[in-house]
């Protein structure tokens, strides 16, 4: 079967295999897997609200997935989307708190820009160090993650902290809040999803249609040939890290503008890390990443509903682990299903 079909089929088949394996675990704790999975589907897609919150969850995952995936395309392993997301959200908040006087048409894009610039700037540190001294980006971005984490928890408790009992920033100005697309009770479907999808399309165009994208990919595939072809490697490394960081920063910014409306300490909740698996499930293709993020978002959101029928949320982490594992070793999946086909 051809490559394109498989790249789409493997994640889907992996989901099936993972759900089958997990159903044994569910049986072991004395629950009914069918009830559990019905709850999973219901929780992810069963109602307007379910769909809205699935999309809310998907939005930042698309962007962190893009951040990591874009890095991979340019030959960089940006494990620091987590920290860039925090820095982006924090800077955007600091800006958006003070723009009450600005009309929304100005405040919204400017806030996004600030968040993206902060993410880009923070990621560029790693890019710059790699270009300048050859320092491995995995090490530097891991370190930068922790620094961002500690710094942000300082920021929300001291300079930006408000209120009694809560480590959080003040609410951002209402002109900087993203208008919701749909409101179901307290759940607001943020228009951030549009921004995220546009970002994916933008990255797709950048990679496939522009000469800059050509250079970034060339440097990612073969830095020697790229240099031979007149492409400046150091410049490309910094630029690629900056774009990757801007995407992660945008993920954090949209969380602030569209969901929480303020900066909360542990905002990222591992989404930067999720970006790695999403990027790879989506084969580092921006459009694939949208679907991979949607899959993750739906599983995560549906798993909340599973808790209501008494299945612990850890089950869904195990399901995710198996899916990702099978996507990694996709030949396992191909073998399982191709053999079946042959047998028929």
């Amino acid at each position: 079967m051809n490559q394109r079909v498989w790249s789409f089929l493997v994640p889907l088949l992996s989901v099936i295999v993972a759900l089958i394996i997990a159903s044994f675990v569910i049986l072991m704790i004395g629950k009914n897997p069918i009830t559990a999975y019905a709850a999973l589907v219901r929780g992810a897609l069963g109602s307007k609200m379910a769909i809205a919150s699935t999309i809310v969850k998907t939005t930042p995952l698309i962007l962190t997935g893009l951040a990591v995936g874009f890095g991979f395309r340019a030959g960089l392993f940006n494990i620091g989307a987590e920290g860039q997301m925090i820095m982006g959200a924090m800077a955007a908040t600091a800006f958006a708190i003070n723009v009450g006087w600005m009309p929304a048409v100005l405040a919204i894009p400017l806030t996004m820009l600030v968040g993206m610039l902060a993410g880009a700037g923070y990621a560029s540190i790693a890019g710059f160090l790699k270009a300048k001294t050859g320092a491995h980006e995995v090490v530097t971005t891991i370190m930068l993650n922790w620094i961002a984490d500690y710094f942000s928890s300082y920021v929300v408790t001291v300079p930006m902290g408000v209120g009694f009992g809560t480590p959080k920033s003040p609410e951002i100005a209402s002109s900087a809040k993203l208008p919701p697309l749909m409101v179901v009770q307290a759940t607001e479907l943020t228009s951030g999803i549009i921004v995220a999808v546009l970002a994916a399309v933008f990255i797709k165009i950048l990679l496939d249609k522009t000469s800059k994208g050509y250079e970034l990919k060339a440097a990612g595939f073969n830095p020697y040939a790229a240099e031979y072809g007149g492409i400046k490697l150091a410049e490309n490394i910094v630029l690629a890290m900056a774009i990757s960081g801007a995407l992660a920063g945008l993920a954090g910014t949209l969380e602030v503008m569209g969901v929480h409306h303020r900066f909360l300490g542990t905002l990222s909740g591992g989404k930067g890390f999720d970006g790695i698996s999403i990027a790879l499930i989506g084969q580092n293709n921006p459009i694939g990443i949208i679907f991979a993020a949607l899959l993750m978002g739906a599983l995560r959101n549906g798993s909340n509903e599973m808790q209501f029928v008494g299945v612990p949320k850890h089950i869904i982490m195990i399901v995710q682990a198996i899916i990702i594992f099978l996507v990694a070793a996709d030949r396992i999946v191909r073998t399982i299903f191709l053999r079946k086909k042959v047998a028929k």
Binding site: A38, V56, S153, T157, G165, P167, Q185, F308
Partner: protein, 360 residues
């Protein structure tokens, strides 16, 4: 398939509709924190068992889960608990949508100007609990140095510290004993090793009693105290520890937080600075059941049984009776409003120990 789904939904809903139901939604930490979540749950279970209500707990993955989880809970339950300061915004957004469901927020303060009749919020005067810890620590230290290990310096943690420092200051003023306080933060509530390392660092600098206001990091701190104590005493048996401490008048101790953690290392955990979380959630459920529920904010301190010190089951024998008696007296002063424990940094700086003379 679709029909099956609808059918199961109907069955589920009809079952749910019958009994009185309590659902607790936690933040990302979940049960097992030996703090808010466990404390709240304990009170819910106690009340629910008394009145025969259904009860369950839903854990959130991340902040974006608060609203969906609270909404889902409100669709099913009569009383919904939101536990943890992070859920403030979500709680009030959802509660507005469900005026017929009671909501209880633990460690949550209504945002300025918001007040809903169906939302009851509890917060605690941690500084009161911290006061006991500080007073006992100052009384018991043999090195003149006591430690404070905080998690992330969020306001509840800081209030514990204000009380702790004030308590130590009261003791040292009244008894003219010089007491230094070492302060540090793990900046984390999850990692016990970090708690242990920081506690050990404070022991290394001469502290012999450390107050652990750091969530699960505290477990590591307790283990640090145990390690030091066992090395000193040569045994981890309670009798040997008491014997040694009484005879030599020294030892290494930890002070627990939120709930009674004395049992975790008998004789080594000097006392625990407790919050009356389970009591709050117990009354939350009960009031909803018997119709006396009133919205608003309740601040629970010593007077309301919302803060206090553990019974010191294992360590009472080491602590001089005089100290216990003094604490009883001071408790009365706090209840009467004659002794105000500072609850902000500024109040702490300005805090002057009032002239207190014990009647004994």
């Amino acid at each position: 398939m679709k029909r099956l789904l609808v059918l199961s939904l109907i069955v589920a809903l009809s079952v749910f509709a019958m009994a009185f139901k309590v659902i607790m939604v936690t933040d990302v930490g979940g049960l097992g924190d030996k703090s808010f979540n466990d404390g709240t749950w304990e009170g819910i279970v106690r009340a629910a068992e008394e009145i025969g209500a259904e009860h369950k707990v839903i854990q959130s993955y991340e902040q974006a889960d608060y609203i969906p989880n609270l909404t889902r809970a409100a669709q099913e339950a009569d009383v919904v608990f939101a536990v943890g300061f992070m859920m403030t915004d979500a709680l009030f957004k959802v509660a507005k949508q469900f005026p017929n469901v009671y909501f209880v927020g633990i460690d949550i303060v209504p945002p300025e100007g918001t007040s809903l009749p169906n939302v009851l919020c509890y917060i605690f005067k941690e500084e009161h609990a911290g006061f006991y810890a500080g007073y006992i620590a100052a009384a018991m230290t043999s090195t003149g140095k006591i430690g404070f290990v905080g998690g992330i310096p969020i306001p509840p943690v800081e209030r514990f510290r204000y009380g702790y420092e004030a308590g130590a200051k009261i003791y040292s003023t009244l008894h003219k004993k010089k007491v230094d306080i070492l302060r540090g933060y793990t900046n984390d509530f999850e990692d016990p090793k970090k708690g242990k390392d920081l506690t050990m660092a404070q022991y290394a600098q001469g502290a012999d009693i450390v107050f652990l206001a750091a969530g699960a990091c505290g477990n590591g701190g307790i283990e640090a105290a145990k390690e030091k104590m066992v090395a000193l005493v040569g045994s981890d048996k309670l009798v040997d520890i008491i014997d040694y401490v009484v005879k030599n008048n020294k030892g290494f101790f930890a002070i627990g937080v939120d709930v009674d953690q004395d049992y975790m290392a008998p004789g080594v955990v000097l006392c625990s600075a407790m919050k009356g979380i389970s009591m709050a959630s117990y009354y939350g459920v009960k009031s909803a059941w018997d119709g006396t529920f009133e919205g608003g904010l309740k601040v629970l301190g010593v007077k309301e049984d919302g803060a206090g010190v553990s019974p010191m089951k294992y360590t009472k024998g080491m602590i001089p009776n005089r100290v216990i008696a003094e604490l009883e007296y001071l408790t009365k002063l706090i209840k009467d409003g004659k002794l105000v424990i500072p609850d902000t940094e500024d109040a702490l700086k300005a805090f002057q120990v009032p002239a207190i003379s014990f009647p004994f």
